[in-house]
């Protein structure tokens, strides 16, 4: 039944996934199974070079695995063509990077609204919460404790790193995507800002009902998550590097 499938409790289901950039290279990722439940906040711990970025590229549908299935909400990303993966990502996945998350020539609000420009389903959902996309962007920025009016006329590059990361968080949450992928979003922040950023992020993820896959090498944050796992536990290729 379609309704039952949509309400499936599994958000991410990777099985038998293997990935390498070129045929002659060694495997970067070899994940027999990796599962994330809907609404779960998972902390994936791994040192740089352990295949974290590739894992996120696979989850985001930017690259396709050599073999295996990457199912997000029961849709096999590996089976979709490039354009459909891009469309799926636009509609259902929010992403935050470690740093330099913002498009320099767009305003604060335009940066936040950006995903709604590429996905009608996120636009619809954002408009379901506020009268306009701009208003929803302001609401999210306010929820991330950013003084919108103070920064509106200035280039986004002039914001502090902490402020930029909060704008990025607001952007990845607009239109309430089902899955949020965070790639070391706190590693460029000072220790005291780190905790408050995480609290704000968790608050809004909870409000949107999103699932979070958070990748970092900094295990001091792990305590705040529902589940913590080391990438080496799920990636057989990582051990050989």
């Amino acid at each position: 039944m379609a309704a039952a499938a949509a309400m499936s409790e599994t958000m991410v289901q990777m099985s038998g996934v293997r990935f390498r950039w070129r045929r002659q290279d060694a495997l970067i990722l070899d994940v027999p199974v990796f599962q994330v439940e809907r609404g779960e906040r998972v902390f994936v711990k791994g040192p740089s070079g352990s295949g974290k970025t590739t894992l996120l590229n696979l989850l985001g549908g930017v690259v396709a695995p050599e073999s295996g299935r990457v199912e997000i909400m029961d849709t096999d990303m590996a089976a979709l063509d490039g354009a459909r993966r891009d469309a799926f990502r636009a509609g259902h996945i929010g992403i935050i990077f470690q740093m330099f998350n913002l498009v320099p020539y767009l305003s604060l609000i335009d940066n936040v609204v950006l995903p709604c420009r590429f996905s009608s389903c996120r636009r619809q959902r954002a408009l379901g919460r506020a009268a306009s996309l701009q208003e929803e962007a302001r609401r999210l920025l306010a929820a991330m404790e950013l003084d919108v009016d103070a920064h509106l006329s200035r280039p986004v590059a002039e914001l502090s790193t902490g402020q930029q990361q909060r704008v990025a968080a607001a952007r990845c949450l607009i239109g309430a995507p089902e899955l949020v992928i965070a790639d070391e979003p706190t590693s460029s922040l000072d220790a005291d800002v780190r905790k408050s950023f995480l609290d704000l992020l968790f608050g809004e993820i909870g409000a949107a009902g999103s699932t979070l896959v958070f990748v970092s090498h900094d295990s001091s944050l792990a305590g705040a998550f529902d589940r913590t796992l080391a990438l080496a536990e799920i990636n057989r290729a990582g051990n050989r590097q």
């Binding site: 970025t53 996120l56 590229n57 985001g60 930017v62 690259v63 490039g82 354009a83 891009d86 469309a87 990502r89 636009a90 509609g91 992403i95 990077f97 330099f100 998350n101 913002l102 498009v103 320099p104 020539y105 767009l106 335009d110 950006l114 995903p115 420009r117 590429f118 996905s119 952007r171 790639d183």
Partner: protein
Amino acid sequence: MPILSLAFKSLLNRRVTASLTVFTIAVSVTLLLGVEKIRIEAKTSFANTISGTDLIVGARSGAIPLLLYSVFRIGNATNNISWESYRDIADNPQVAWTIPLSLGDSHRGFRVLGTSRDYFEHFRFSRERRLAFAAGGPFEDVFDAVLGANVAESLGYRLGDPFIVQHGLGQGGFASHQDKPFRVAGILAKTGTPVDRTVHMSLEGIEAMHVDWRGGTPVPGLTVSAEEARAMDLRPMAITAFLVGLKSRLAIFSMQRRINEYRAEPLLAVLPGVALQELWNLMGTAETALSAISILVVVTGLFGMLTMLLSSLNERRREMAILRSVGARPLHVFGLLALEATILTALGTALGLALLYLSLAVAQPIVDARFGLYIPITLPTGRDMAVIGLVVLAGFVAGAVPALRAYRRSLADGMMVRT
């Protein structure tokens, strides 16, 4: 269309380099369209200088020199035609009319042309248009003159004003016919041909000026006053050239042959259209070179834009990754850069068009006064629009180079670029 607004905002963010690029393209487009415009107008005005004349006759030289001095008032005749030969041909039953032309003097840089009243009757330019008077009428008296529109305008002469003709073609400093002043009897309406830059007077007037001259200098001790000259026999001994209109166009070639084989003296008769074409072909190389240069200037402008886009590509790598992460497809990334190039070119072309009309408006009176070339300001022609379309297309193609690079990179980078 998210990409269009992104492209505009991205360009706005780099407004200094972007506007320089736009300006470069604008100048090159102005040059391209301007050269084309002047080329076409020059050719039209060229072809319009004479019309309705069947043959131009002069002393034997070449078709082009004959055309140059008789129609364009450029250069000098090497020899004259005797009055007897002229009358003999003019009286041929197949000849409908003739216009005698006598050149050699000037007034403040403008050529003086001695002719008959038939000139105002039969001379045609620009597809059978005849000369019209803006003021006054044809010369009546021996010392009457009719000015071309530019002569009257640039010298500020009005009807009845007296003036003195210089002997020869210099700008003064030469001997002048100051004992026999002329009077402005008529001013012609503008024609856009060398007629505008000509001072017309009767053959008798020319003769009267020279009655006390021999071999280009005044005869010492011999002074003939204007009044005395008036009473003398002023029938000219010779003329420089003449235009012929025939009763039937079918007779053109037989008449041409008859004149070219004229026994009494060596003469040359040419068909104006053939001579014009020959002269225009002579300038064809310069024309082609000019067009080629202006095309190369446009290419240079586009290369400038390409450089700007390519050099910004590295610093924009991160931006492309961000766009990919929010759902942009690699095709969007391609579109963004290609669109930026297209916008720059389109803006440049639009500005170039505005610049063209501005410079035409400024240059029109100057070019008209100095070169006698009247450039009408008209809407862009279909050819202009095609050129504009081609330039914008070329801009898109140039933009495709960095766009393709960004496209490939964003496929390889995905959304995870470490910078």
